[in-house]
């Protein structure tokens, strides 16, 4: 697979380390009254879709940036690559 890095252009997937579903950006609030259940769901449960999947890749052998890659899990086709920083900011995170 080739990941089209937003800053560096097309790079081989073997330069990257895979983390998992991009929902891992949305860390729950630890002070919330139901935080134990929320952290369980956040850490352990997955949508695991057959089809379009947004996921986190780390460019370990490159510029060490985190990316959100939108990829089809049935065909391995990559339709979108964003910097995870931008996605996190869009979702209201400060960094």
């Amino acid at each position: 697979m080739i990941i089209n890095h937003p800053l560096l252009g097309p790079r081989d997937a073997s330069e990257f380390v895979y983390l998992g579903d991009a929902s891992l950006i949305d860390r729950p609030d630890w002070q919330h009254e139901n935080s134990q259940q929320e952290f369980h769901n956040y850490l352990y449960l997955r949508d695991n879709p057959a089809g379009e999947h947004r996921e986190l890749w780390f460019h370990e052998q490159g510029d060490r940036s985190w990316l959100v890659v939108t990829r089809n899990t049935l065909t391995h086709e990559i339709s979108k690559v964003e910097l995870a920083r931008d996605v996190a900011k869009e979702r209201g995170r400060d960094k």
Binding site: G20, D21, L43, R46, T73
Partner: protein, 416 residues
């Protein structure tokens, strides 16, 4: 029809005209006591043990394609019980004991071949870790022998003992480990279940669950609605896709594991050998091909094919311990979709929905578990309580803190 050596001889002398289809092709009935979703090794084993051990025969196994078309036909056929943790090891040892008696039990030649498995170690700390695992295995009733370098040389003189980076210091040997003819396992269980009255319904895809008042009352399929007292999902590899129809999210990611077969060679590898410093395992099939594999690709996928970086990595692992493998040509390679769970261990449990049961999360090691998985799932379905060896394989173990993490790498499925 009972199979025997005499029967083979008789048929050979009379033109092989007496063989009959091994199972029926029934139309689905309107309802069953239990519907098993998934006609793979585990699903068919479940049906077989429900019929044989628990006396339940009003059962259907529904399968999307043909039986055995999933991972039971795609794995590298290794059986072993060399786990460490109390939640796992008694279960896998139970499975090993069922393997040892399987062919007599279901009267089918599954070619169970206990030629042993050797896990190599390459350093002193790794030897200590393997000694500990061997002790845990022996405490659970399994067999384990710690071999030093001379012991390994006796079994496998062809290994690269003085590799500059990963010299071979010894290995943990389980003599009862080995390989089994994988397709025959599915066929043998199917034949045994069918003979006892279980309906095996192929080309019947589950499209949804029948939910009434929050309870599961059967399945919607491409061949109509089939009602069931209990619905038992057993579709490892597709667990996410199927359980989504019941609105469930699972502690599972789907990944692809690749496997490789070389051209046929004369007998050269005595049993199963695994590399301790990378991920590579190899055995030799009865046809002579070297059957080997390594790591999963490491990203979510439902495609039954992988990518080239892992091919390179696996072949490097092979070259590191067994340079002679470089002379063999790769004949074919394929990928299978596996349920990678959050702690690397499986699930055999009721779900929170009444009437709906779940078996999955087998990671890349489901084949060896086939008999025990079927037996324990049958026990759960028949008696509504877990089999004594499967009490910890619960869906809620992450919430209760009872994870079974052999490798200790946490909730990172592609590292298990």
């Amino acid at each position: 029809m009972r199979y025997s050596g005499f029967k083979v001889l008789w048929e050979g002398l009379t033109g092989n005209r007496g063989w009959k289809p091994v199972w029926r092709e029934p139309e689905p009935k309107e309802s069953y006591d239990i519907v098993i979703v998934g006609g793979g090794g585990h699903g068919l084993a479940t049906a077989y043990y429900l019929a044989k051990q628990f006396g339940m025969t009003n059962i259907a196994v529904v399968e999307k394609g043909w039986i055995g078309s999933g991972n039971v036909g795609r794995n590298t056929t290794i059986i072993r019980s060399n786990y460490m943790l109390p939640g796992n090891e008694p279960f896998y040892e139970f499975s090993m004991k069922l393997w040892e008696n399987l062919e007599q039990d279901f009267n089918y030649n599954a070619m169970v071949s206990q030629r042993g498995i050797i896990n190599l170690f390459h350093s002193d700390p790794q030897r200590d870790a393997f000694a500990r695992r061997g002790n845990a295995m022996r405490m659970a009733g399994a067999d384990a022998v710690l071999l030093d370098r001379a012991g390994i040389e006796k079994h496998c003189p062809f290994l690269d003992f003085d590799n500059a980076r990963f010299p071979i210091k010894g290995g943990l040997w389980q003599p009862r480990g080995g390989t089994v003819r994988h397709d025959a396992v599915a066929w043998g269980y199917a034949r045994g279940a069918d003979a006892r009255g279980v309906d095996i319904i192929q080309n019947c895809e589950v499209t949804g669950f029948v939910m009434e008042n929050g309870e599961c009352k059967g399945v919607e399929t491409s061949r109509g609605t089939i009602r069931a007292g209990k619905t038992a999902v057993c579709v490892a590899g597709s667990s996410g896709r199927v359980m989504e129809k019941a609105g469930m999210r699972l502690p599972i990611e789907s990944h692809v594991l690749q496997a490789f077969v070389s051209e046929g060679l004369k007998p050269v590898i005595p049993g199963v050998i695994t590399f301790g410093a990378g991920h590579f395992y190899v055995s030799q099939s009865d046809k002579g091909g070297l059957v080997f594999g390594g790591d999963i690709d490491g990203y979510n996928t439902y495609a039954q094919r992988g990518n080239l970086p892992v091919v390179e990595d696996v072949c490097e692992g092979g070259m590191a311990i067994m340079p002679m493998i470089g002379r063999a040509r790769l004949l074919r390679m394929w990928g299978g979709v596996v349920d990678m769970s959050m702690d690397g261990s499986p699930f055999i449990d009721k779900t929170h929905i009444d009437g709906l049961y779940f078996n999955g999360g087998w990671c890349y090691g489901g084949f060896k578990a086939t008999p025990a998985s079927g037996y324990c799932y049958a026990h759960l379905l028949a008696r509504d309580e877990p089999h004594p060896t499967a009490t910890e394989l619960r869906l809620d173990r992450f919430l209760t803190g009872n994870i079974i993490d052999e490798k200790g790498v946490g909730a990172q499925p592609n590292l298990h």
